[in-house]
């Protein structure tokens, strides 16, 4: 840590020293006007490649002072206009530089409705602009995954949680969606403060995008490669959502589709000028209401989203800020809504599920252009996000006998008591009958972030250098009470566990990045980006203490030549790029503090009395370790190579990637020997006390059950018991030993426009491979299978990897999309037809060890687990068996015995009881085709979208997914079965949106 600080400071000093040397600077000033009517474009932003910027005033005029001599790129953008990008050489003061901006509508040639590569980025990054977003009629922002190369369209849904999965699939190991970061206007949406989402059956998921308003999104940038070090707490890419900013006319949209209805309105109000001439800024406000139902036939279970957002942005460039303008914006977004089944008449009376999804987000950002020799600009941003995810579920219960539920959290033997006798409800007896109970989860996560970033751009001769140094301080916490019941007297089994008890998680990150652009030869350019980020995670007063992690990242891009000089040749542009980086994903509360689990053993049931009550006794054991001191943070090591070329107007982009997920968070169980006293119901038969006068009690430490007489006539009687030995489980979170491997290739080919039919063709696709297997030692125990002699199961097996015949999976997919876009500027209409195909869909279960020795065996006779043949696991139909490597017995829990040797010996010695018990630890496939390769036959789905502008006032969009209504069948090569393709492609769906602009 200390070394890191020294490195940063010395780097800054060195460069400051450089900067002290004089450098020639000039002033660039001009006007930005509308190409159509020549009107000045107020609030247009002019940005140079050095990071210097200016904002146009009411007359469209801008000035940037202290521009370094040499080549620079000027990017002019304004909401509602197409971005203008040009390269100029600055060798003297430039005045009256006139830039014309074209209005962004369909009358413009060159409108695109697909994701565009960010050609300036040195990593794989794609931007989806407003035209494409309107064309796709975004309802849930996660739908943009369909616009990525090889991406498959999914019907928009808000009634189920949607996450982003970048270069991964939700069904894979390694918490894939958790590693994808989502930012809205710089506000990071975080799922780190979520509790209870990580368990043996569910992976940690990323943030749900359901509550992000979709209508005021201006553009979305998706970085799938190695991103800049200024982005942390992510391993699989980042999705940056930018909402509309700047002065805009009224924009009203009305949207409808079978499941969802949406209405929204937004406007950017210019606040005019103060008397001093300074602009008062712009307020962008937008209001949106969306209602989504899950089943059109029963439109009662619904997800509602009502959102109001306001952003005030202003430019300070008068008075003290004349030479150093300051851009400032502050915004607030409030979202009220959630999921509700209450009105559903098909649900039983008074039962409902109600989940709130209320969020309030505030953010501010500040960009101060200093243009000093030693610093170009300073950015500061902060955000805070508070959610209320209060959920309620009301259920109906009934029972013929008294129902026993557990709420105790201390170790010991306890017997059922009614709520009146024991209000703490350690073992609660609910009298028979009918009742309702509402379980509630009070979940209120809070995340905040404060960041500061300084840029320093400097030219050294022809070499452009940009240095970025920044620091981020983020915090996550949860104010919720956790899970509890509205009526404790009838509550089902749960234990109190406060989310608000857990300390806040703080993370301090420091990063530095250097971006060098070196011209090579006459027209080549070499761009090198080196960055390093250090994250320090601090959880006060907790066992975790402070954890530090380092993420270095490198990007190289070599542009051999670009289109500017070669637009008449065949080879018009060529660029190569390569990246390598490390990214760390901080754990969420679900991983650091997994929900405590209790091992509850039923030790006695009294006979059911006339009132219908059976006094059931349990041994309660809190068996969770709240922390794993050796837990490492999940990391992703990414490498990428790419080529971008333009051959005769055909734009080709190829990217190959190789990602390794190291130390993925996994949920495991371990077992300890456990002894308890068991009392049979029939043990009460010798009791003289009449049934109505009996009081049952159990000794908390010894577990002996006593029956006493309420009237005192008869003496108390201790019941006889049996001692039982077993293994009890305890869960914990640890890291996967074996990394998950993902590699593949993405390609995008944009053919030149066929002018006669105004059509462009794009072919994009991915070839994606995944392989992961579990190499952690997993303990396995048969909880409900008694030993051959009737006592509880006495052996505990240790498997290599999963406690199953297979311990992993590998998949391979080739998805290709063909998009035909016909754009007729005269009619202001764009029509796109997208055919999505899956050419290869391969999946296979695997059973492997790291050292390559066999883990599972093929057997010829399923009744003889030792009938090994030497066939390969993956060819042919046969049964496969897997044994634990070692096992221990209750009698000797510390000695690891080799399983296969002992099993063979037991069979040969004719020890049927031991052989039967050990066989209980073996895992045998139920089918003969478990390990066969599974190829799903190719399938396709076609979508059509049309957008038509009606003058400048309105535009109408219509889309239909799977409009061929492809209901054919696909065949699985593993089972030989045919199944409907509707599980793989979206069902026929359509949507219509009307947009008014006035």
């Amino acid at each position: 840590m200390k070394r890191f600080r020294i490195l940063i400071l010395s780097l800054a000093a060195l460069l400051t020293g450089f900067g002290a040397a004089a450098q020639q600077t000039f002033t660039l000033s001009g006007t930005v006007v509308d190409k159509g009517d020549g009107a000045p474009v107020e609030f247009a932003t002019v940005v140079l490649s050095s990071g210097q910027w200016a904002v146009c005033d009411a007359k469209g005029a801008f000035t940037i002072a202290k521009v370094a001599a040499g080549k620079t790129t000027v990017v002019v953008s304004c909401v509602g206009y197409v971005e203008d990008k040009r390269e100029i050489t600055v060798s003297k003061d430039i005045r009256n530089y006139r830039i014309q901006l074209a209005q962004d509508n369909l009358a413009l040639e060159g409108a695109v409705v697909t994701a565009q590569e960010s050609s300036s980025a040195a990593t794989t990054s794609r931007t989806i602009d407003k035209t494409a977003l309107e064309h796709v009629q975004l309802m849930n922002v996660s739908s943009i995954s369909g616009l990525m190369p090889g991406g498959a369209t999914a019907n928009p849904s808000l009634t189920s949680e949607q996450q982003f999965n970048i270069r991964a699939s939700g069904a894979e190991e390694g918490n894939a969606s958790f590693g994808t970061a989502v930012e809205v206007d710089g506000v990071r949406l975080s799922n780190n403060a979520a509790f209870g989402q990580f368990s043996s059956t569910s992976q940690m998921k990323g943030v749900a995008t359901n509550n992000i308003a979709s209508t005021n999104v201006e553009s979305v940038e998706v970085i799938t490669g190695v991103p800049s070090v200024e982005y942390g707490d992510m391993t699989s890419g980042i999705v940056k959502i930018n909402t509309r900013k700047g002065k805009t006319p009224w924009m009203v949209t009305l949207s409808t589709s079978p499941n969802t209805k949406q209405v929204s309105a937004s406007k950017g109000f210019g606040l005019g000028e103060a008397r001093s001439g300074a602009s008062r800024g712009v307020i962008n406000s937008s209001v949106e209401y969306t209602r989504s139902i899950s089943e059109p036939m029963s439109p009662y279970t619904a997800y509602d989203r009502a959102q109001l957002s306001m952003t005030w942005s202003n430019l300070f460039n008068k008075g003290a800020f004349v030479a150093t303008p300051l851009r400032f914006s502050v915004g607030v977004t409030g979202n009220v809504g959630g999921y509700n089944t209450k009105a559903d008449p098909d649900q039983f009376k008074n039962t409902y599920t109600n989940v709130r999804d209320n969020v309030i987000r505030g953010n501010f950002s500040l960009n101060w252009l200093l243009s000093k020799p030693w610093i170009t600009n300073v950015e500061m941003n902060g955000s805070i996000s508070y959610s209320d995810k209060f959920s309620r579920e009301n259920k109906n219960y009934s029972s013929a006998v008294g129902k026993v539920e557990l709420h105790g959290s201390q170790e010991g033997y306890y017997i059922a008591r009614s709520y009146e006798d024991d209000p703490t409800g350690t073992v609660l007896l609910i009298p028979r009958g009918y009742w309702y109970n509402e379980m509630v989860e009070d979940n209120r996560p809070l995340s905040w972030k404060l960041g500061i970033k300084a840029n320093w751009a400097r030219n050294f001769g022809k070499i452009n250098n940009k240095l970025k140094i920044g620091a981020d301080w983020t915090g996550d916490g949860n104010f919720g009470r956790g899970v509890y019941s509205s009526d404790f007297a009838t509550a089902p089994t749960y234990r109190d566990w406060l989310y608000s008890d857990k300390p806040f998680m703080h993370n301090l990150a420091l990063y530095a990045e250097d971006n060098v652009m070196i011209p090579v030869g006459r027209e080549g350019r070499l761009n090198l980006i080196t960055g390093i980020r250090q994250d320090r995670t601090m959880i006060r007063d907790s066992h975790y203490g402070t954890v530090s992690s380092l993420s270095p990242r490198f990007n190289v891009k070599y542009t051999v030549f670009s289109e500017k000089d070669h637009h008449r040749d065949f080879f018009r542009a060529l660029a190569f790029r390569a990246s390598w980086g490390l990214a760390v994903k901080l754990p969420s509360y679900s991983i650091l503090y997994p929900t405590p689990s209790y091992y509850d053993r039923n030790v006695f049931d009294s006979p059911t009395d006339a009132a219908g009550n059976s006094y059931v006794a349990y041994k309660i054991m809190p068996r969770t370790m709240e922390y794993n001191a050796d837990l490492k943070f999940q990391r992703n090591r990414q490498s990428e190579v790419g080529v971008e070329a333009n051959l005769g107007g055909m734009k080709i982009s190829l990217a190959g990637f190789y990602n390794l997920t190291l130390d993925a968070y996994v949920y495991q169980s371990e077992y300890r020997p456990h002894t308890y006293l068991y009392t049979q119901t029939s043990a009460v038969s010798g009791c003289l006390i009449p049934e109505g006068d009996r009081i049952y009690s159990i000794d908390r430490t010894t577990g002996v059950v006593t029956v006493s007489d309420r009237t005192g006539t008869y003496p108390a009687m201790e019941l006889p018991y049996i001692v039982k030995n077993e293994f009890a489980s305890r869960p914990f979170v640890t890291n996967a030993v074996q990394p998950m491997r993902r590699y593949g290739m993405e390609w995008v080919v944009d053919f030149p426009k066929i002018k006669s039919i105004n059509t462009t063709i794009r072919i994009d696709g991915t070839w994606y491979n995944y392989k992961a297997f579990n190499a952690n030692t997993t303990a396995f125990y048969q909880t409900n299978l008694p030993s051959a002699d009737g006592t509880p199961f006495k052996y505990l097996g240790f498997f290599y990897g999963d406690d199953s015949y297979g311990n992993g999976r590998r998949t391979s997919n080739v998805n290709t999309n063909l998009t035909l876009t016909t754009h007729i500027p005269k009619v202001r209409m764009i029509l796109s037809l997208k055919v999505e195909t899956s050419l290869l869909k391969f999946s296979q279960a695997i059973s492997e060890r790291v050292d390559g020795t066999p883990r599972s065996y093929v057997i010829s006779d399923r009744n003889d687990l030792l009938s090994f043949t030497n066939e390969s696991l993956y060819e042919g139909e046969h049964y496969v068996v897997c044994f634990p490597d070692y096992y221990v017995s209750f009698a000797d829990p510390t000695t690891l015995r080799p399983f296969l040797d002992d099993y063979r010996a037991a069979i040969e010695a004719g020890d049927n009881a031991k052989a039967k018990d050990l066989r209980g630890l073996a895992k045998l496939t139920s089918y003969t085709n478990t390990f066969l390769p599974d190829y799903i036959t190719p399938y396709f789905s076609a979508n059509i979208s049309v957008t038509k502008e009606i003058g400048d006032l309105a535009s109408v969009s219509f889309y239909a997914n799977n409009f061929f209504n492809n209901l054919s069948q696909v065949r699985s090569s593993r089972t030989g079965n045919y199944e409907s393709v509707s599980g793989y492609i979206p069902s026929f769906y359509y949507g219509l949106t009307v947009r008014l602009k006035f």
Partner: protein
């Protein structure tokens, strides 16, 4: 233009002509009854062929029944009381699947089939009633089915020793579910044994049932269910209860502690499948009784377990000789998908049942044999109205004998129940469970 029009008309006519399919003519089908591979020549036996429609025909003197059937797949069955080779009155049942083919299309096709008839003795210990479908909860929130019971009955005049009797449930639990024991030709792969799924229960003490008497066995919950669910039954006084938490069947909702503590009335279980509750069916229960010498260790022997349904779901192989009685029940809404799970010697038919209404499947009275008993004179109660014909006109059933068995027993009569090993004839759906007063 005219030419085009006429061409179109011709094409259309051709299309219509081709699309008209030639009507399939009904085929002549003969079914020959056989017993032990020898033709069973008996006249006047009704053979039933069921499929998309049901047909009946009587055999001629050679034991051949002739039908005229459309092409298709059918089930041919026969049930009657006959005299076997030794002159003993026995129950005869036969069931087989037949495929009728179009002789026009394939002149070599044969539409003559053999229907093997299996003779089986009625048994002394029988299943008298199966109550496993549950009833409606008081608040109409659904069905409550944790109150199942089965009644075993001694159908003869001498005491029967039921100590070695075990109770199992067939696998798959639901007759309308996909059944791995059916091969591609639609035939059961086992012919002389039955699979008992998930586990079976046995007695831990000597059980002797007196003549013409019953024992009530509570399958789940020997408690009074009627306190909460008035449509249910009171099992707190059941004779025996399936309660053995240490075996692994320890699900609290299935097995609350019984109301009595006498351990000799608890049946023990042998569990070899997964789960904490013994799986039985609410829709189409398939219980059967069998006799084993060593019930506690029978399932330890791998040779007695069959893993057709998966290594984690073995079924105990209960051989024909050990089986005492069984009852196949199909769920009425799912009749079309139901396939028989019992071999013909145990049960060649099926009883029809609607679950969730508090109905039970109750055995019909053997009118001839019961009226023949001298001690029953004047004690039998007739005009039985306990069936479900009134509530379900299409599929409801009642006791054809018209004798109200429970009322007669209350009157001191000795009832002999009908046991032809064919549930279509032996059982009816009773509106109210018999132990419900």
């Amino acid at each position: 233009m005219k030419k085009v029009l006429s061409l179109l008309v011709m094409v259309a006519a051709l299309a219509v002509a081709y699309s008209c399919e030639p009507k399939e003519e009904p085929q002549d089908v003969t079914i020959q009854l056989t017993q032990n591979d020898v033709n069973y020549a008996k006249e006047g036996i009704t053979v039933t062929v069921s499929g998309p429609a049901t047909f009946e025909a009587t055999t001629n003197a050679q034991g051949v029944a002739t039908f005229s059937l459309p092409v298709g797949i059918y089930d041919a069955s026969v049930a009657f009381r006959g005299i076997d080779a030794n002159g003993v009155v026995t129950n005869c049942n036969g069931k087989t699947a037949i495929t009728v083919v179009d002789k026009k299309a394939d002149p070599n096709a044969v539409n003559d089939f053999k229907l093997p008839v299996i003779a089986s003795q009625g048994s002394q210990l029988i299943i008298k009633e199966v109550y496993a479908g549950g009833c409606q909860k008081n608040d109409n929130s659904g069905t409550y089915a944790n109150d199942k019971y089965i009644i075993l009955y001694n159908n003869a005049g001498t005491e029967v020793d039921a100590s070695k009797i075990c109770i199992g449930h067939i696998n798959p639990p639901n007759a309308h579910a996909s059944n791995k024991y059916y091969d591609k030709d639609g035939k059961l792969t086992y012919t002389d044994w039955l699979p008992a799924g998930y586990g079976y229960w046995y007695f831990t003490t000597t059980v002797k049932i007196p003549a013409y008497s019953q024992i009530v066995i509570s399958i789940m919950g020997a408690v009074n269910h009627t306190e909460t669910y008035t449509n249910s039954v009171d099992l707190s006084n059941a004779d025996y209860v399936m309660y053995d938490k240490e075996s692994g069947f320890n699900m609290a909702s299935y097995y609350p502690a019984p109301a009595f503590t006498d351990a000799s009335r608890y049946m023990k279980a042998v569990k070899y499948g997964l789960g904490t509750g013994w799986v039985t069916s609410n829709f189409s229960p398939g219980f059967f009784l069998f006799r084993l010498d060593n019930p506690a260790t029978y399932a330890d022997d791998k040779a007695n377990l069959d893993e057709t349904m998966g290594a984690t779901m073995p079924n105990a192989i209960i051989r024909e000789a050990a089986i005492v009685d069984g009852a196949e029940i199909f769920n009425i809404p799912k009749l079309a998908d139901s396939k028989t799970r019992f071999i013909p010697s145990v049960d060649a038919g099926y009883a029809k049942f609607t679950n969730g209404q508090g109905y039970s499947i109750y055995r019909n009275v053997d009118k001839e044999a019961t009226e023949a008993l001298a001690e029953n004179a004047g004690k039998l109660v007739y005009n039985y109205a306990g069936g479900t014909v009134a509530v379900d006109a299409e599929n409801g059933t009642t006791d054809p004998s018209g004798i109200d068995a429970e009322a007669s027993i209350a009157n001191g009569a000795h009832i002999i129940y009908l046991d032809t090993n064919n549930s279509s004839n032996d059982f009816h759906q009773r509106k109210v469970a018999s132990i419900k007063k």
